[in-house]
Subunit: 228 residues, 2 copies
């Protein structure tokens, strides 16, 4: 990839990009693991294979983010490490009780991640932004999930109430962990402080991003036949 | 792929090929799941990523075997289903207690599978045989495992005794499940009965294959610094 020294010449900014890519890379590796795990709950081998393919896609995303970290001269492990605690806490606090909860988690998690990637790309250097947009453009296996969840609700409407609560818990936990990370990781700040040639954003702007993610989540839940 | 009607024209033989490919496909899907699981025990993110890549490779193998099943006009789910019980039993009876046991299991499992694929290819129609040989030629990430295990034994020789026992248990359990499957699944028999144009093998020949696998396993354990 061609580099734009004007953007990455500032070491604090470069470090912030590395921080963010480290968080995303760890998130993808962790999603791979989690979805592979959820696949065990699949009622059929075909469904297990579908979820397996989604897990493999997440691992592919992880690989691309890791490669970008190396291009930036960073050690991927070091960049990823600070986010292990929050990711573990998220997955521990949102362990699906059954196959449907697992599906909803994959769907919600994937959708929120996609929205977040698109929002955050605006704050990244051009090459990292292209990569991040590219990575999320590659999903779209969610149709499988939507079909399954809708069919389950149609078969037993009481499932809808339970999954609606579950969706709320997922997004609440995701935002709680994200907020914690943002407040604790000072190294991310230069990304949002604004500087010549980049769109700036402060913590208020970040709060607006979270609000947008939450709103988009509510729309998706409604489309799924669930009230957020 | 070009078909050889002379081989697959016999419905019983074709069904037997489907049976075997179903067993292999389920084995690969199950290996994907298991290795992704073992990755959780990794002491570092880099090691977790290495194991993740191995899991992804297994999923790729699964996909190719599933495609071949479809080419043969079979429903992959139906072909895979009979092997779920034996595979689940194998993994349940050999759940690794820690990272090193997980690594040894990946190594032993991958190596035995590779040997078995090579042996069994001789009994398959030409296109299936090419696919099966091709699938196993693609591994070779085992060097990573060998290095880690050797380093762990060098650091603490008592680890060697424990892992040697573990290796014995793995191969014993694998052969027990394989024997059970072979004796229960009559549909596999035409593969080994021999007919014009194919190498035939009866149960005695199959027992010889198992003996060869066990011997090769012993050599590998010794190379790892473990007595089998």
């Amino acid at each position: 990839m061609a580099e734009h020294p004007s953007e990455l010449a500032d070491p604090a900014y470069r470090d912030a990009v590395v921080e963010l890519l480290g968080a995303l890379a760890n998130g993808e590796l962790s999603a791979f693991q989690q979805i592979a795990d959820d696949a065990k709950l699949a009622p059929t081998l075909a469904a297990r294979a579908e979820l397996g393919a989604m897990a493999v896609a997440e691992f592919g995303h992880f690989g691309r983010l890791r490669d970008r970290l190396r291009e930036l001269g960073a050690d991927p492990d070091v960049a990823m490490a600070p986010y292990a605690v929050a990711l573990d806490a998220f997955h521990r606090n949102t362990a699906p009780a059954d196959w449907l909860e697992g599906l909803v988690k994959v769907y919600v998690g994937d959708a929120i991640a996609t929205d977040f990637y698109r929002e955050i790309a605006a704050f990244l250097d051009a090459d990292s932004a292209t990569l991040v947009r590219d990575v999320v453009a590659d999903t779209g296996q969610a149709a499988f999930v939507v079909d399954r969840v809708k069919a389950a609700i149609a078969a037993d409407p009481s499932v809808g109430g339970r999954l609606a609560l579950w969706g709320r818990r997922l997004v609440g936990e995701a935002l709680a962990q994200a907020q914690r990370v943002v407040s604790e990781r000072d190294a991310l700040a230069p990304l949002f402080e604004g500087s010549a040639g980049r769109t700036g954003a402060d913590l208020a702007a970040l709060a607006k991003i979270f609000a947008k993610l939450t709103e988009a989540h509510a729309h998706r839940m409604a489309a799924l036949g669930l009230s957020a």
